[in-house]
Structure formats: structure tokens, C-alpha cells
Symmetry: C2
Subunit: 363 residues, 2 copies
């Protein structure tokens, strides 16, 4: 006994391709384990879209994967269609009679809200790895989350069950009073290297070489991505808050914004002494520096902070993330979730688990 779950997937970047591969590979296992048959009915990215109300077959999906890794557009596929609008695609799928579909947004596109809201109107489930729609205006967050068939585990901590745990605490009537976390894998990596007495500029260069940073590492150092994640956590707790309300400490001075990327990388050595001093000061107190997002007493803050070397946050290594939840029931010591907090495979896995979870719920 199994049930079909039609999927509309937006996005075929790193996470999108990993998701497509995981769906192809795990389809049989999911059917056996969960009684659900995942069927991609539509695939759309900026290059074009393909769809079939009965589900795209495996050959077509594999072709789409191959095309993308060769830099082709979906439009170039023999089965491809003309470039289509995202809202129009959702509507076409719905008009073709596809019921109980799940729309998956694995883009980093700030403009997909309309398509997502269209999906909601057709009673489709929503699964987001894309932070932008949830970090947009409060009103959009409320509209998307209303009705309870939205999941967004992958937006915070990649594959770590951060949102699920938060929902679980709230479902059981706990009051979450504070969340503290090393939210950015990239900045966490730099903190670990500082602790190991590597200079700031060298740690940053390493992170960049390992592919942990954005092409322009200032994107990471500015802390905006961590701020978006913190905002999503705050809104999940029903805080009325906008991105501009999150207080963010940038890890470089604003006057370095005018430099080119390469100039910036050169110039970071000027920051080494200051970071070495901060690191040494922390060490003298038995502490280490960590880049933390903190949500407490109505304030959201992203900053470098000294924490005890022998605690959970001190135990962090590499690019791992760690989240500490303080609540009425976890008052003395927090509930802790940690581990690999970035990467396309774990992010796609979180999306896949969310799809299964949404599909399980009656609409």
C-alpha cells in the first residue's frame, strides 16, 4: 500500500542536484519505509522548466542532471518546454489535476514568494531550503506558515534537526526563552583556527580555499546569512521581527567594503593583530572565541563572543554548527543540537525528510 507524492522542484543548483539524485536513489527505500512514492512532476530553474502531470521519468531526470553539470539549460532537453514562469507552472500543474503535491524551493531566489503562495492556494505542501521568503517581510512569513503544511528545516543548520526540535518543544507547550548558536559553519571554522593560533588572514584564506566561503568572503564576514537564520528562528517562536532588527557585528571594518575581493584578501592581514589579542585575552580566562547568534529577551544578536573552552560551544571544531535551546523545561542546562551544519548532501537530506513529513500530514 503506497501513495503517490507529486513534487514540484524549484532550483537545480548544488542542493537541487543533490536532492534530485537522492530522490532517484532513495525512491524505492522511501516507498518501502514510508509508503510514499515520490514523483517529480515539474522541475524549474532560471534556465527553463520541464513537467509532466504523471511524473517525469527517471531517464528525463538523469538527463536534467547531466545537462546541468554540462552547463546546459533545461530548455535544451528534448523533453524541455519553453521558459516558463514559476507561478504559471504551479497553476498548470494544478489545472492538470495534480492533487496533494509538495512544492520544494531549493533556490536562493528572493522572488519566489508568489509561486509559493500560489502553491498554498492549491493546498500544496511547501518545503523550503531557501531562506529569502522566510526572511522577507513578517507578513510573508505569516502567510507561508499559516495552515501548518510548510517545512523549512534546511534553512537553519543544514541537515541538523533544529527547526524540528524547536517545533517539538513548542508542540509540547514548552516556553523557549533563549537560543544561542554557532550558526555559520564558515565563521565557526575561522574561530577554531584562531583558537589553534592561526592568524585571521590565514584562517580566512584557508576557508576560502576549502570552498567554505562565498566567492566574496565579505558576504560571510558581514554576518548577514547568520542574521537571516536567527530571524527565521525568532519568527518560529512567534516573535514579530524584521531582518533590520537583528544586531550584527561585522568581522571587518566597513571601510574595507570599497576594495576588490583580491585587495580585500590582501588587506585582511592588517586585522591579524587585533584578532590575536582577542584570542589571547579569551584564552587567559579559560575561554575561546565563537561566532554566535543569540536570541534572548526580545533581542537578536550576531557577534563574536567568549565562551568557556570546556563547554559544548568550546568543544566545537571545524565547520560544525551548534545550537543551544534554553526553555522553561531546559532551564538550568540547555538542550543541545550540533554537528555538520553546511553542505549540499545534508541540506538536500533535510529537504527530503521534510517532503516526507509534509506528505504524511493530511491536508
Amino acid at each position: 500500500l503506497s501513495r503517490k507524492v507529486p513534487i514540484i522542484q524549484f532550483g537545480l543548483g548544488g542542493v537541487g542536484r543533490a536532492l534530485l539524485r537522492q530522490i532517484i536513489e532513495k525512491r524505492e527505500q522511501i516507498k518501502r519505509r514510508n509508503g510514499l512514492e515520490l514523483e517529480i512532476v515539474a522541475l524549474l530553474d532560471s534556465s527553463g522548466g520541464i513537467w509532466s502531470p504523471n511524473g517525469l521519468d527517471e531517464r528525463t531526470l538523469r538527463r536534467a542532471l547531466a545537462a546541468k553539470s554540462e552547463g546546459l539549460s533545461l530548455h535544451d532537453l528534448p523533453t524541455g518546454r519553453a521558459k516558463m514562469d514559476d507561478v504559471a507552472l504551479v497553476t498548470r500543474v494544478a489545472v492538470a489535476g495534480v492533487k496533494r503535491a509538495v512544492v520544494v524551493d531549493v533556490t536562493a531566489d528572493p522572488d519566489l514568494q508568489d509561486a509559493l503562495l500560489a502553491a498554498r492556494r492549491h493546498d500544496y505542501g511547501l518545503v523550503l531550503a531557501n531562506k529569502y521568503p522566510l526572511a522577507a517581510a513578517q507578513k510573508t512569513f505569516r502567510r507561508l506558515t499559516g495552515g501548518g503544511r510548510l517545512r523549512y528545516e534546511a534553512t537553519v543548520g543544514a541537515g541538523l534537526p533544529v527547526i524540528a526540535t524547536l517545533q517539538y518543544l513548542l508542540d509540547a507547550g514548552d516556553q523557549v526563552t533563549a537560543i544561542e548558536g554557532s550558526i555559520s559553519g564558515t565563521l565557526g571554522f575561522i574561530c577554531t583556527r584562531l583558537q589553534e593560533e592561526v592568524s585571521f588572514s590565514q584562517a580566512l584564506a584557508e576557508a576560502r580555499r576549502l570552498g567554505y566561503t562565498e566567492p566574496d568572503p565579505r558576504e560571510d564576514l558581514r554576518g548577514l546569512d547568520a542574521a537571516r537564520k536567527l530571524l527565521i528562528l525568532a519568527r518560529t517562536l512567534d516573535w514579530k521581527i524584521e531582518l533590520a532588527d537583528v544586531e550584527v557585528e561585522s568581522l571587518y571594518p566597513a571601510d574595507m567594503d570599497s576594495l576588490s575581493v583580491e585587495e580585500f584578501m590582501e588587506a585582511t592581514s592588517a586585522l591579524d593583530t587585533a584578532y590575536a589579542i582577542r584570542t589571547a585575552e579569551a584564552r587567559d580566562k579559560g575561554s575561546v572565541l565563537r561566532h554566535l547568534g543569540e536570541l534572548r529577551d526580545g533581542r537578536c544578536r550576531v557577534r563574536l563572543k567568549e565562551v568557556p573552552a570546556q563547554g559544548y560551544l568550546g568543544a566545537l571544531r571545524g565547520s560544525d554548527s551548534l545550537f543551544l535551546f534554553h526553555s522553561a523545561r531546559y532551564a538550568d542546562r540547555p538542550l543541545v543540537i550540533g554537528g555538520l551544519g553546511a553542505g549540499v548532501e545534508v541540506t538536500a537530506a533535510a529537504v527530503l525528510a521534510d517532503v516526507i513529513d509534509v506528505a504524511r500530514i493530511s491536508p
Copy 2:
């Protein structure tokens, strides 16, 4: 728009009473948040049972709570009925036309399997805090878990989302290769005290005074409770395994089994030197002793083990629990879940969240 969720509750001990209080207090909140109206239709413990197909009213539930804290039986309530068999109660509720109920087992009764299986036959959901039915024969585990409407978060790590995280990894097609954890809050507390250079006998006496141990602390020291939790984790991973297959290191020599409890407590000072030596040996290597359950390469083991002082397990304090999941996707560094791992309030909260989760799934 909300839907009624009829609940049959077995057990009114510490967890059972906390659950009943939480249901009374959080009912409105759960209705608003989850669209579910929780209704206790039957309450049964060893002293008797009460039920009503339309739901017991709040006054009756509060009376039941008061009666239990005065040491009275449910049978003594004005609304009480004659002592009833658990299977008969489930059948009566079903015959009265109650659909989509959830049976909650918050007893520590090894003999409730028949009632639970009867509930399954009526398509009722199951939520267990009771480890015994899941730690019984493999066949019973399979029968109870088949069909996917069983939850048992509270059986391992109390309120920590251990089982949910494991299911989440499995749903997303990850291969869990090993689980390691400080599973016993009681033994974890003793390990922390040893680390603080308190003697074994004194640490044990403290744990007992704080109410962390069973009346006979040998129950804890034998490691059987931790073994049951490990068995449940192994079976969740689909391992075919029985309790007798779990290798358990007892923390006291078997010849002390013949002593009375008070004699035993006196005699534990004879173990102090050995534990002080083990603790010092660990410290010399930058390690600390932890009481761990470990599941790896087909083996389940419960024992004292040296772990690095600066890692997650080393960061453990007090009676907190910590679980490390190693998998194909969390290969280099584990996914970590930790925090308060014992106590009636968090255990009841896990049961409550499970009830909501089971109720959300279409039967």
C-alpha cells in the same frame, strides 16, 4: 477548525500525573496551535480505571490527580468504575464507537503488550514512555511498530529528540553506522562527580539523596536500564537483537548482590580506590570517565569509557544525557543531541508531543 483526539492513558505514576497536568494546562494552547482537541476518554492504573466515550471532564481529571496524590485509587472516585482489565478497556472504548484514539502507556508495566496490540487492531495510535514492550521479544517490537503509528520518544533520553532525530535521518535515507551516548542520567551524574574528585561511594550517596537513583541503586549500577534504551535504539535501526545480546559492564562486583540495600551502600567505600585510580589514569591522558552506551559494528555495549575532556562527551555535566550519531552523512564528526535526560516533566512533554504527532498522521 479543530479535530478531537481521544486519549486512553495507562498509568498515573510520576510521568502519568505530569502528563495529565500538562494536558489540562496546555489543552487550549494545543487547540490553537495544532488544531487538535485532546480528550482523555479513559484513565487506567493498577488501582482501577475510569472512562467515558465523550471524554472525562476536567473536574474528574483533577479529582483523579488529587486522589492519586492522596494515595487513593481511581476506584474510590465517585465517577470510578470497577477494576477493569486493560484489554477490556480498550475494547469497550472501541465498541463505544471512539475512532482515531491514541493509547498512551506511561507505566513501567512489562505486561501491557496485549492491550497495546488490541489498540493497534482498532487502528489506534500508540505512544509509549514504557520501555518494556519495546525491549521485550523482537517479535513484539515488530508487531507494535508495524504500520507507523507508534511513537516512543520518551523511552530514550526523556524529552530529548533522540528517536525523532534517528527517524529523521532514516527517512532521508542516511545510513546510521554508530550511536554513542551517555544514556543514564544517574550514572552520568556519578561520572561528573568522580571527575570532580568526589569518591565513588560519596557520589553514589549524593545521587541517591537527590532522588536520581532507584530505591536500590544497584538497579542503576547494573546498567540494565541503559541496556534497554540501547536495545530500543538498535531495533529502531532495524537490528535483530534481544536484550541478552547487549554487553553490559556492571559498576559493582556481583558478590555484592547478596547484601541488603543499606549494607550495600556501606560496602561501596571498598570500591573508592579502584574508581579513584581509573579517574586519575584518565586525567593523565587528558580524558574523563563517562558511562556510555555504544552501538557499532553489530555490537551493543554499555560500559565506563575514557573520552577526551575537551570533546562533547567531556563537556557533559550533572545528570545530562548526550547522544552522538555517526552516519554516512555525519561521517567525520557526529550529529549531537544533549541536555537534561531525565525527569517527569520533560518525559511527559515528550509523550505529549508524540500524541500530537501521531494524531496529525492520517490512519
